[in-house]
């Protein structure tokens, strides 16, 4: 038997206060797509960063094709044939596809025509559709991801690591990606596929390794032998299925959020939201489905006051807040869970307490001073009510796991007794338990009479939670569906603009 393409053996990696990997192991055979599964905080990303040369493991061995190696930088890993496509792409927007692909690995004589041809040929070989001369800023997220993959292939990566690759893709693009990965393994390369989505894992991958608490709980199990339920059980440690949520109890009440003919122009001068109207009533969850990049973020930012409306109006609980700042909107009863939690909703480097009181610190002032006693009491109450796992209050926010970050953020927003909650991708990137907890909180909020506007790219989630589903495409609402009657196919068609 040929040696494993990648063998990680007993990897330990500690960060201040956290053990990310506690003797994790992973063996990937050439010619396979290997899933690495685990909840948030299970140590998947850290383990992959060790393999990709981003981190140096504290202990343990890395073997490539049977030979032990030690990487001190991603360049080292790349030289050894390990390529990684991160969740955030590392591309130069103003460069062309080909220029990005060869950046740092170009032949010493730069003949762009020849390079363009070679890049096109490489793309062709793996079944990509890529124009080497297009600048990257013109590309969609899915196309950019292909450029990242091409970059690795240009360097002849034998092992390609994809960190949650489908998060930015449309369903169609995800299927195409699956085909590309097949071509790669046909050439005897190995692919490591990190994902939360069990259905993708079962459809794309050959084998799976499951991590829990920093160590391996199931190594190289054949996907053919297990079903999604078993994998979920391995990940969370017990057989807790996704909660089925209680349907709406009451009837929708007064209009809490009224968006009228809202138009938002983005920084590039393009129309992101196009004369969009919608309303959210008390006691209902309105879901917005749509492929990422169709104006969802501009819509929620404009409702929350982070983005300026070009025209139209936003009314919260009867008061017109179109021209108001963020603070007035919160005072009118808005809670906002932004898509970019760490970049917008939280200050990751600041202590937990600072983050907990971000909405309420103005009520804790004593003259020019801030009462930290009251802030700590508030934080402590928030943490216990919303079951946030925190080390010390002084720890930086970023030291919390994704699920706990989101719980604190959601808890903070809900603690102001809002009349309307705008939640953008509230469960994205969370583990199974985290998703359940956040969904439960939103449903509970609805049942208490709050109007909820929920933006999600996960259609199953909307189908399970929403009382109405609006489909957004190119800045407009292109369809409204009743989740109890509509089929996935109908909604999916609306999402990709098949009818409008």
């Amino acid at each position: 038997m040929s040696p494993a393409a990648v063998e990680l053996d007993g990897i330990w990696k500690r960060f201040p206060g956290v053990i990310a990997n506690a003797g994790a192991s992973l063996t990937v055979r050439p010619g396979t797509v290997h899933a690495v599964l685990g909840e948030n905080g299970a140590g998947k990303t850290t383990l992959m960063n060790c393999l990709a040369g981003v981190y140096l493991p504290d202990d343990g061995a890395i073997r490539i094709d049977g030979q032990e190696v030690r990487f001190s930088s991603p360049a080292d890993a790349l030289a050894a044939g390990i390529g990684m496509v991160h969740q955030e792409f590392r591309l130069v927007p103003t460069f062309t596809v080909a220029e990005n692909v060869v950046l740092g690995a170009a032949p010493s004589i730069l003949d762009m025509a020849a390079i363009n041809r070679e890049v096109a040929a490489l793309a062709e070989r793996f079944g990509f559709d890529a124009d080497p001369e297009r600048p990257v800023w013109q590309l969609s997220m899915g196309e950019r991801q292909r450029v990242e993959i091409l970059k690795a292939l240009w360097r002849d990566a034998r092992v390609l690591i994809l960190d949650e690759p489908t998060a930015v893709l449309t369903p169609q693009e995800a299927v195409e990606l699956g085909a590309v990965l097949r071509r790669m393994v046909e050439e005897d390369r190995a692919v490591i596929f990190i994902s939360h989505k069990l259905d993708e894992v079962t459809s794309f991958c050959d084998e799976a390794t499951v991590l829990r608490g920093g160590s391996t709980v199931a190594a190289s199990i054949a996907i053919a032998d297990v079903d999604a339920g078993q994998l979920a059980e391995l990940m969370v440690g017990s057989s807790s299925a996704v909660k089925s949520l209680a349907p709406r109890v009451g009837v929708a009440g007064d209009v809490m959020l009224d968006v009228r003919k809202l138009t938002v122009t983005d920084s590039r001068g393009l129309t992101a939201v196009d004369a969009l109207s919608l309303e959210v009533r008390s006691g209902e969850i309105v879901g917005i489905a749509g492929v990422a990049g169709n104006g969802q973020r501009a819509l929620t930012d404009a409702i929350a006051g982070l983005e300026t409306a070009t025209s139209g109006s936003v009314t919260i609980n009867g008061s017109d807040v179109t021209k108001a700042g963020t603070r007035e909107r919160v005072d009118s009863g808005l809670a906002y869970i932004p898509e970019d939690r760490l970049g917008v909703g939280l200050a990751p480097k600041l202590p937990v307490t600072h983050n907990a009181v971000m909405r309420s610190y103005r009520t804790m002032r004593q003259g020019p001073l801030l009462s930290w006693d009251r802030a700590k009491a508030f934080c402590s109450d928030l943490i216990s009510r919303f079951e946030v796992k925190v080390g010390r209050f002084d720890d930086p926010m970023a030291s919390l796991s994704g699920g706990n970050l989101q719980r604190l953020l959601l808890g903070r927003e809900l603690s102001g007794n809002p009349v309307v909650v705008v939640a953008s991708q509230p469960t994205r990137g969370l583990d199974v338990a985290g998703v359940g907890a956040i969904q439960h909180l939103l449903v509970k909020q609805r049942d208490e009479g709050t109007g909820v506007l929920m933006i999600s790219e996960d259609l199953d989630e909307l189908l399970a939670l929403a009382d109405r589903i609006l489909v957004m495409s190119e800045g407009r609402i292109v369809g409204e569906f009743d989740p109890r009657q509509a089929s996935r196919a109908e909604i999916g068609e609306a999402m990709i603009g098949a009818h409008a």
Binding site: F15, R70, G343, A347
Partner: protein, 355 residues
């Protein structure tokens, strides 16, 4: 194949900073020794002299403290602006305009009793510095003009303003026609508290402590931390970035201007364009070496002051001012290298080429 790589530390090593600084110092001293050997100066005497004249006696320590005052305040000013990711390159001009404003008060009320006049002059200095930084703050907040450019250019304006006053409106009538500004009122001198150290030392320490306390305890400080972490988060939290940018620049300028007032009352007799003496620029290095922490600013300023005081004193050994300046720069390089080392690490690695 072996090579050196520089990688970012995942977290600053505990206790690593002092070690890094020792390495930096060792590097600088060895480099300096080579330099001094080339220039034909006595290496050990030079180093001994530098130490002796900065920390060697109570008298010299007190002088080192005095010089550390404007350095620390300028460093504090720069680090205040840095909390918002702003670069105040204009502490030099703010010091000058602060001292100009203090001089103005001294000219209007030449007969006020000393303590009252000193307080009035220091307040005027802070106000002047704030005013000098307000323009760049507003330009940055309202129309996005880089504060680096505007603060830098205002340095020159402040110098020219003083030269103008020197030769015209504020010219000393008793100066035999020489271009100098009338001396400040004699009673506006900061008292000596210990050896040669003047009251400014205590005032600066109190100011640094007060700022640290205010940052941690006040609503304003809290908002500043949020705003400094991310503009989007600040907007989300309902904090006006524009007001924070303007406020922070004004505060930064006020601290630098205050330093100008202290220099006027502590070490100078009259306003001149030399009163800032490069402290504003040195403040940038002080703040950087202190990793932008107010508490660190005081310590680094003291070390920086010792370097400058010691560096000057070696001229009596026959070391030329050029060599002395290079030596000081070398030691600074060592310190900066150490600051880099405490956030990055250098390793010698084997590169294994597979494939």
């Amino acid at each position: 194949m072996r090579r050196l790589v520089l990688t970012r530390r995942e977290s600053p090593t505990r206790g690593g900073q002092p070690i890094a600084f020792l390495f930096g110092l060792a590097f600088a001293l060895i480099g300096g020794a080579i330099l001094l050997t080339i220039s034909g100066d006595p290496v050990f005497d030079v180093y001994e002299r530098m130490w002796e004249r900065s920390f060697g006696s109570l008298d010299t320590i007190s002088a080192t403290f005095n010089r550390a005052v404007p350095l620390a305040l300028a460093g504090l000013a720069v680090s205040i602006a840095a909390t918002m990711g702003l670069w105040n390159i204009g502490a030099e001009g703010q010091i000058l305009f602060g001292a100009t404003a203090a001089t103005f008060v001294g000219r209007i009320f030449p007969d006020l009793p000393g303590p009252i006049l000193i307080i009035a002059m220091l307040l005027a200095a802070a106000l002047g510095g704030a005013l000098w930084a307000l323009g760049p703050g507003l330009a940055r907040a309202e129309i996005g003009v880089s504060e680096i450019i505007t603060t830098l250019m205002l340095n020159e304006v402040a110098i020219r303003l003083i030269v103008y006053l020197q030769t015209t409106k504020w010219k000393d009538p008793d100066g035999f026609g020489f271009p100098q500004i009338t001396a400040r009122p004699e009673q506006a001198r900061l008292g000596i508290i210990w050896e040669r150290a003047h009251l400014g030392v205590l005032i600066a320490l109190a100011l640094i402590a007060a700022f640290g306390w205010f940052m941690n305890r006040s609503v304003w400080g809290y908002e500043l931390k949020i705003a400094g972490s991310s503009p989007k988060t600040a907007t989300y939290a309902g904090i006006s970035m524009r007001r924070k940018v303007v406020g922070v620049m004004a505060l930064s300028g006020a601290v630098a201007g205050f330093a100008g007032g202290i220099e006027l009352g502590g070490s100078a007799v009259r306003l001149s364009e030399n009163i800032s003496n490069g402290f504003g620029f040195a403040g940038i290095i002080v703040a950087a070496l202190a990793l932008m922490r107010p508490s660190g600013v005081a310590v680094v300023a003291l070390a920086f002051s010792a370097l400058q005081v010691g560096g000057l004193s070696i001229q009596t050994l026959g070391v030329s001012s050029a060599v002395s300046t290079i030596l000081q720069a070398l030691i600074l390089f060592g310190a900066i290298g150490a600051a880099v080392l405490s956030t990055y690490q250098i390793r010698l690695v084997d590169r294994k080429v597979t494939t």
